[in-house]
């Protein structure tokens, strides 16, 4: 008591300490180690040594450009789809859910009590060639009579969309749920149509949730490899698959580390562009 009283200016730092310590120990230190590793050269047999091997980065971009682009593309489409699906859902729960709100939210989160791998394997069953979805799509002529969904890019994007759906739905819900409904009423009283009121009032007020959801979905989706592995064909593999095989199969740690940094840079770049486009103040509301 006495100590804190005398050094009141220390309080914020003390409060921050656990978080900073955690991030420092489990994020910054490993990241530094990864950066060091990405500049090593050699081979697993003779050992790797630090040589400022910037070539690792060049090789990563040169040899796997296609995988990087494909990953960002799949992640972007999946993020957009997740937003399109979750916004109306979250809107409905927030404004019309009434006393069922919590139960409905539970339905969104419930699949997450099952592990990631099992959820993805379940999609293998849902999209199976002999399954209901494919049969219906064949009957209505969207798929050819021998068409399939599994082992296509559609399946991979669908899997990612589903697997990251709650990361989009929950932040969007939270920001919609906090909107004071009187503001919307006021807009309508001032002769705004329902659509106008949505565009001018509801949507802007929900943007912090949209931005947070977009980031929470896009960032992990770009590095995902499970969906591509289980639902994609060899031609749909993402950069995560390559990093995983470089690291585990090839034990080429410098290449894997360099690719991780390139991916990180690519994601940061896209996030920066996005943040500029919507305005960073939206992040904090």
């Amino acid at each position: 008591m006495g100590f804190l009283h005398r050094h009141q200016n220390l309080t914020p730092y003390l409060l921050l300490a656990p978080g900073l310590l955690y991030l420092g120990l489990f994020f910054v230190v490993p990241l530094g180690f990864l950066a060091y590793q990405s500049l090593e050269s050699g081979s697993f047999d003779v050992g790797y040594a630090f040589t400022w091997a910037w070539g690792n980065y060049w090789d990563a971009i040169q040899n796997y450009r296609g995988h990087f682009i494909r990953s960002l593309e799949y992640a972007a489409i999946a993020t957009l789809l997740a937003l399109l699906f979750s916004y109306p859902l979250a809107y409905w729960i927030a404004f019309r859910g009434g006393r069922w709100k919590n139960l409905l939210l539970l339905f969104i989160v419930a699949p997450f009590f099952v592990t990631y791998l099992i959820r993805t394997l379940a999609w293998e069953t849902i999209l199976a060639d002999q399954g209901l979805v494919v049969r219906v799509l064949r009957d209505v002529g969207i798929l050819g009579h021998d068409g399939r969904l599994l082992a296509t890019s559609t399946a991979v994007v669908a899997g990612i969309t589903y697997n990251f759906f709650p990361f989009m739905a929950l932040p969007v819900y939270v920001s919609l749920e906090q909107i004071d409904e009187r503001l919307i009423e006021a807009a309508q009283d001032l002769y705004a149509s329902r659509w106008k009121a949505f565009i001018r009032v509801t949507l802007p007020l929900s943007l912090p949730g949209v931005v947070a959801g977009t980031l929470l979905t896009f960032i992990p989706a770009a590095g995902d490899f499970i969906n591509a592995q289980l639902l994609g064909s060899p031609k749909n593999h993402m950069i995560g698959n390559v990093i995983q095989s470089k690291f585990l199969e090839l034990t080429d740690y410098p290449a894997a580390a360099a690719m991780s940094f390139v991916l990180m840079a690519a994601i940061l770049l896209m996030v920066a562009v996005y943040a500029r486009a919507v305005g960073t103040e939206k992040l904090t509301g």
């Binding site: 697993f44 050992g47 040594a49 293998e124 069953t125 599994l150 060899p234 390559v242 095989s245």
Partner: protein, 385 residues
């Protein structure tokens, strides 16, 4: 062994041993100057506990008590309790986990680990000097090792390894959806199978079949035979014939009928047939693959205790008890005769006790090729292109 071996150390030690980067020189250099290992090697007293890491569902289980009867028998016989952990799900991941401590000369607190020789890791562990030699004086039952498994190309005298179980890699097909698929060319070229087949993502799993079909020797890979094999697979990837490369996740689609045929492990198909009796499995006519899971003693493990345990499981009647539950291929001679007494249906299943003709037609993949970086890179780029 606590210091990390740098390339300079390696060259110096290799030069000191009078061999400039010849294989023995590299081995000596990788072995380092460890003196710790010899203490556990020559000591003939049993440890209190044996730490044994294995794959899931890979040892006998008493369905009622959930205990492992053969492990209890071992404890009763020797007084050594066994800490049995099922923490190996994948060779690459497990190796990724243990390579850190082993490269720093730290123990991984295991006396026995089990790794598959269709991956590069058993040979890599030996080459790196990260496993101990078996104490063969404690393993008189070594004589019971199936002859076909006695001289793998990566540990020709079985100085470091002893098989736990083996399995065959061949072609599975669904007879309701396709005519019998008995050869690799049929699998990869038959237009009726387009987009309805998968291969295994392990290079050491799939390649023996491709090599054998090409008339090449899978156990002695050359650049030319490698190129031929890669070309065959690439063509089938590009044409869309191959739908995916899988681990054992081919089992769902195969059982459901999404796949008409695939490269598959015999043990999986034995289990899948229980649900879908239209599934058939064959070694391709031109030759299939065989893999073996090997018991290895990681550096720092108790060599004598581990060796005594290995001797124990090479008793035919113990091996029979394990086999009756596990249903893979038993490496212990005499186990079949023991099993005929307790469970003849298992003893007479040729997928569990294959005929000599089958064993002759099943090939391992060249360990040097499994560790060739150029080959691995080409293979990985092919399966995730």
């Amino acid at each position: 062994m606590t210091d990390v071996l740098t390339r300079r150390d390696l060259l110096r030690r290799a030069a000191a041993s009078g061999a400039f980067l010849t294989v023995p020189g590299v081995l000596a250099a990788c072995g380092g100057s460890s003196s710790k290992s010899s203490s556990s090697g020559s000591d003939h007293t049993l440890a209190k506990t044996l730490h044994f890491s294995n794959w899931p569902l890979y040892i006998d289980v008493d369905e009622k008590t959930k205990k492992h009867p053969t492990l209890d028998m071992f404890t009763k016989k020797t007084g050594v309790s066994v800490q049995y952990v099922e923490d190996i799900n994948d060779n690459a991941t497990f190796f990724g986990k243990i390579q850190g401590p082993l490269s720093r000369g730290q123990s991984i607190d295991r006396d026995i680990i089990v790794m598959t020789d269709n991956s590069r890791y058993p040979s890599l562990l030996i080459k790196k000097g990260w496993v101990e030699k078996l104490d063969k004086s404690a393993i008189p039952n070594f004589k019971n090792l199936e002859p076909a498994l006695q001289h793998p190309n990566w540990d020709s005298n079985r100085d470091y390894s002893l098989p736990w179980q083996s399995g065959l890699t061949g072609i599975a097909y669904n007879e309701k959806l396709t005519d019998p698929v008995l050869t690799v060319p049929d699998l990869l070229d038959n237009p009726k199978l387009k987009g309805k087949i998968t291969l295994l993502q392990g290079m050491g799993d799939t390649m023996p079949l491709i090599f054998a079909a090409n008339g090449d020797d899978p156990e002695k890979v050359t650049d030319a035979s490698w190129e031929r094999a890669i070309k065959v697979v690439k063509k089938a990837v590009d044409s869309g014939q191959i739908r995916q490369f899988t681990g054992n996740d081919y089992s769902g689609p195969l059982a459901k009928g999404d796949l008409s045929a695939c490269v598959a492990w015999s043990g999986d198909v034995v289990q899948l047939q229980a649900d879908n009796k239209h599934l058939k499995w064959n070694l391709p006519k031109e030759g299939g693959g065989i893999w073996t899971d090997n018991m290895l003693i990681p550096k720092g493990g108790n060599v004598y205790t581990a060796s005594v345990y290995m001797n124990f499981v090479y008793e035919p009647h113990i091996a029979a008890l394990i086999e009756d539950y596990v249903n893979y291929i038993c490496p212990v001679k005499g186990a079949k005769q023991e099993l005929e007494k307790i469970d003849p249906s298992v003893a007479n299943n040729t997928l569990i006790f294959p005929t000599n003709a089958m064993l002759d037609n099943a090939h391992n993949f060249d360990a040097a090729a499994l560790n060739n970086e150029k080959y691995i890179t080409e293979w990985q780029n092919l399966i995730s292109s």
